[in-house]
Structure formats: C-alpha cells, structure tokens
Amino acid sequence: MAHVTPTVSRSRATSASLRLSVLMFLADPQWLIPSMIAPVMFGLVAFELFRGAGHYYLTYAILGAGMMSMWGQTLYGSGWAIGQDREFGTLEPTIGAPTPYLYIVFGRVLWNVISGLIGGAIVYVVVLVAAGTPPPVANPLGFVVLFVFVMLTLASVGVVFTAAWVYTRYAGFIQNVGEFAFYVGTGCMFPIVILPFWTNPIGLFFPPTWALDALRYLSIPGYVGFSWGFWWDVLGAVATTLAYLAVAGTIFHRVERHVLASGDLSWY
C-alpha cells in the first residue's frame, strides 16, 4: 500500500457534503413535513389572509409564506444536519478529515438552500392554483436576481448558526426558541416596519430582513417598507451578508479549536 498524500479540494468536499445531504434527505422521510407539507400549509394560510387585499398582495403572500418555508429549511435544516452528525458520532471523523470543516458545512447549507427553494416553489404553485391566476411581479428579471441573493443572505445566517451546533450539543435549544422569533423579527411573514419601533434594530442585524424588504419594493408597486428605500435595502443586505460570511470564516476556526479543547465532539 503506497502512502501518497492527497491534495484536498475544498469545492470537492463541499460537493461531497451536498451529495451526502441529499442521500440523507432521501433516506429519512421525516423531512417531508418541513420541506413538502409545511409549504402547502403556509401557502394556503397566506392566500386566505391576503386574498381580498388586491392583486399584488398575492405576490406578497407568496413572498411571506415562501420565505417562512425557506427560512426554516435553511436555518433549521443546516443546524439540524450538524446535530445529526453529533447524534450519529460522525462529527468526530468528519472534523478529523483534512478538509476545513467550514467547507463541509457549506455543502450542508447549500442543500438546505435548495430544499428551501423547493419549499418556495411549492408555495408558489399552491397560491397559483388557489388564485387561479399567476401572481404578478413588477420587475421579473430583478426579482429573480434579488431572489437568488435573498437565498444567499439566508445561507450566510445558516452557516453562522450552524457553528453553534458544532460548538455545543445544546444548540437545538437556542434554535428552537429562536426559529419563530426569527420569522417575525426578520419580516419573513410581514414587514417588520409594522412591528413596534424598538424591535426594528434587532431585525436589522439579520441580512434577510434587508433583502426581503428590497424584494418587496421590487415586486409590489406602491410598497412602503423601510423609509430609506430600495437601494439602501440592497446595500444593507450586501453589507450584513458580507459581515456574516466574514464571521463564519473566523468563527469556524475558533469553534473547531474549542471542541478539540473541550473534547465533547462525540457527545450528543
């Protein structure tokens, strides 16, 4: 057996992690509930809430319900994947591999973004069927570009939150408490401008808050969100996303060091 030291490709590690996530998803039907059934419920509830509010509010409904579905999948699913690694005892051999763990997490988050998109698409189809007409979008091309960017903002938060699962086996507690607060606080279901003023600064710490407001400006004529308007929303989203990605880059190295020091990698 010849000993040849391989060069580890980070993109290959990410794609391996993505592939593993798909296999694990397909092997475990419990995910059908958050990824397939919950979006149908979100779509129907949102449609009923906004059906009498005007034509463009259908788009509003789709955005709200779709984001709820995607937010849950991206954030909750990414953390949960690491929690599963703890439970299976696979976190230890994975951390012990030569690939920096951050790139493995990217793969997990990427899958959850894709699965979140599937949830978003389901909401779209549900509202489309319920309304009997395609929801109008004021600027379709801009909508698509911004929509992809919204997913990136969700993923950036997902990566940072995933670090908590590596850091401690109790991360599920924080995430369970936080999940619904994030729905409201980031304006997934409705714009946070209608919440009490003191809550707004909290929401602004999260990139999706900015990106979602921008998306509503772009797709719903006459929408009034944050008073600073569309371009400042975009700028805020870009800045906070970059900040999250920078935090992720440094936090993972520290988290890895912490778990190697604490010796609780195999605990669950």
Binding site: T7, A16, D28, T94
Partner: protein, 327 residues
C-alpha cells in the same frame, strides 16, 4: 535522513472539566492523562494495554488530532499534533469502532465515497479504491446495503475500511475487536496483520491480552493515566517476577506456610487471593529450581490442595502491573 519516531510523547497531560446541571451544577475535574512519556518507532505495531478508564482512548484521540492536550508535547511522524494537524490528518487514520461513527441510513459504498472526497482521493481512483478496501475487509457483497442493516462485526469492518481508504502512513486502532464475536475478531486481527505487512505503522489499544500477545511485539501498559510499563512481552514477564507461574489452591493457608513458600528458590513474587472459601497462592518464578512437587511438600496437611504450573501470561503481567499502580 533520520526517520522520526511514529509517536513521541513527553509529559503529556489531559484534564477534562465539566459541569453537571444547567446553571449551578456541580463542577467535575478528571485527569485522564497524568504525564505520559512514550516513543514508538515507525514500521511496526505497538500495543497499548489498559483497563477501562486508563486513558487509552484519550491518548489516541490526542495523537490523531481530535483532542488537544492540556500540557506536555505529542508528535506523530515527527509533527506536533496541535500545531501541525493539517499536515498530519491526510497521513494518519483512526478507527474508533463501535456502533456510532457511520451514516447508518446510507450504504457502505456511499459512506466511503463521502470520506474519500473529504480526504482528497482523486476522483479517477475513488471507485477503484473503494472497491479494493471493501474487498479487503470482506464487505463487497453487502456494499450497497444500508449500514443500519449491518451486524456489529460488519460495522467494525466498515470503520477499518474508512480508516485505511486514504492509505495512511500511520493507523490508530482503538479497541478494534471489542464486542465482536470470535470469528469477526479473528478476521479483524488477520486484517491488522496484513496492514503491517503493507508497511503501515499501527498503534493499537486493547484490553484483550491474547490480542496484544498475538499482534504486538512491543507494548505498554497504561493505568490511571500513566504508562506503568513498556517493553517486549518476555521482558514484561521478567518485570513482574518471571516466566513461570505456580498456583497452589486450598481452603486457607497459615502465615507460616506462605512465608515458607516465599523462601523457596527462585520465587520472586507471591500473591494471595480469596475465591469464596478457597485461597489461591500465585508464585512467580525466575528459575527452574522450584517444582510443583516442592510446593506440595511445603504445604502438607491440605487434603484438597491443588498445585499447577503454567507459563506467566500477559494477563498476569497486566494484572500485576495494574494492581501495583492501584496500590
């Protein structure tokens, strides 16, 4: 160019601190390693024996870069485990074994594909490499079955397959046959021997004496976080009093009889143990002068006396050393 030792450990310590309870819980502090010194050369198999809780797994995890030491220094293949983990990880393999550590809901082949990619095995070689290791560990037939359907022995084989997939220079095996049936354990030992033949340096921990005796020309005994002895098996036998052991068993002995046995020629050590109503005296002998007949003659008047001679086993060595450390 001089070849660095496979393992070089100096004054290594590791303390685990934990808190029971969420807010005001009790703080616990456990010293798992208390100043371990050890050097292992490359190119063979080295055994680390010790009872549960001796610190074997802690040492292996530190050496395989999965745990940071609290103090001291540890190097593998000449590289520090704390500062050169990036260099070391592609060159070492770790088999922790057990039921956990595998993706049970997917098949063995996909488990190996995942880790092949994380270890940077070239895409063009990946499938062939996986086929070869599956064949080597005897899992070819069941490679496409979900791991959750595997027996304990098959899971252990998959752990080993993953550990050798990237062709490491050094392999750490932490109790690789624990919980296996005799047939699976024998197959695992055969596999380990074949790896040695391939030039892989192996660091094996076990608490099975026969396994250590069968596989390891040299070993260390660990107890309560310390290395209490380290040598070849014949020399370890000498360390605990000799190659020959005589055992005398009866319903109790007088102190004077025990003293008389101690004075027999070549007796280096005498241990007395109670087994219900019976007492067993174990004598370690450094020479051939004293025979079972001499022992019987020294213990007259015991109608139920049994005396037998046997070779000092590694288990005797181990128990003596661990007992001495406990005292």
């Amino acid at each position: 160019m001089t070849i660095p030792p496979a393992v070089e450990v100096h004054d290594l310590t590791r303390v685990f601190e934990s808190r029971k309870g969420f807010l005001f819980g009790e703080h616990t502090r456990t010293e798992a390693l208390k100043g371990v010194d050890l050097t292992v050369e490359q190119g063979s198999i080295f055994g680390l024996l010790g009872p549960n809780g001796a610190g074997k797994t802690t040492l292996v995890k530190i050496l395989s870069t999965l745990l940071l030491p609290s103090g001291g220094r540890a190097a593998v293949l000449g590289h520090d485990v704390t500062t050169d983990a990036e260099w070391l990880r592609p060159r070492i393999g770790l088999v922790l074994g057990g039921e956990r550590g595998l993706y049970n809901r997917i098949n063995a082949r996909d488990n190996l594909r995942y880790f092949a990619d994380l270890y940077g095995i070239p895409g063009s070689e990946r499938e062939e490499r996986i086929r070869a290791v599956l064949q080597r560990v005897g899992l070819t037939e069941s490679a496409d079955r979900r791991v959750e359907e595997y027996s304990r022995g098959m899971k252990q084989k998959l752990h080993i397959a993953r550990g050798i997939l990237h062709r490491p220079q050094m392999l750490f095996l932490d109790e690789p046959t624990i919980g296996l049936d005799p047939k699976s354990a024998r197959e695992t030992r055969k596999l380990v021997r074949s790896l040695i033949a391939d030039g892989v340096t192996i660091f094996l921990t076990t608490h099975y004496m026969f396994e250590a005796e069968e596989l390891c020309p040299e070993l260390a005994v660990m107890s309560k976080g310390r290395i209490v002895a380290r040598d070849t098996i014949p020399k370890l036998r000498q360390l605990v009093g000799g190659d020959r052991t005589l055992e005398a068993e009866a319903y109790g002995f007088e102190d004077a009889e025990v003293d008389a046995l101690r004075r027999l020629p070549g007796v280096s050590k005498l241990v007395s143990e109670e087994y219900g109503p019976r007492t067993r005296l174990t004598l370690r002998l450094q020479s051939l002068e004293t025979t079972p007949g001499d022992v019987s003659a020294t213990l007259p008047g015991h109608s139920e006396l049994t005396v037998r001679e046997r070779r000092t086993s590694l288990e005797d060595v181990y128990l003596d050393l661990v007992e001495e450390e406990a005292q």
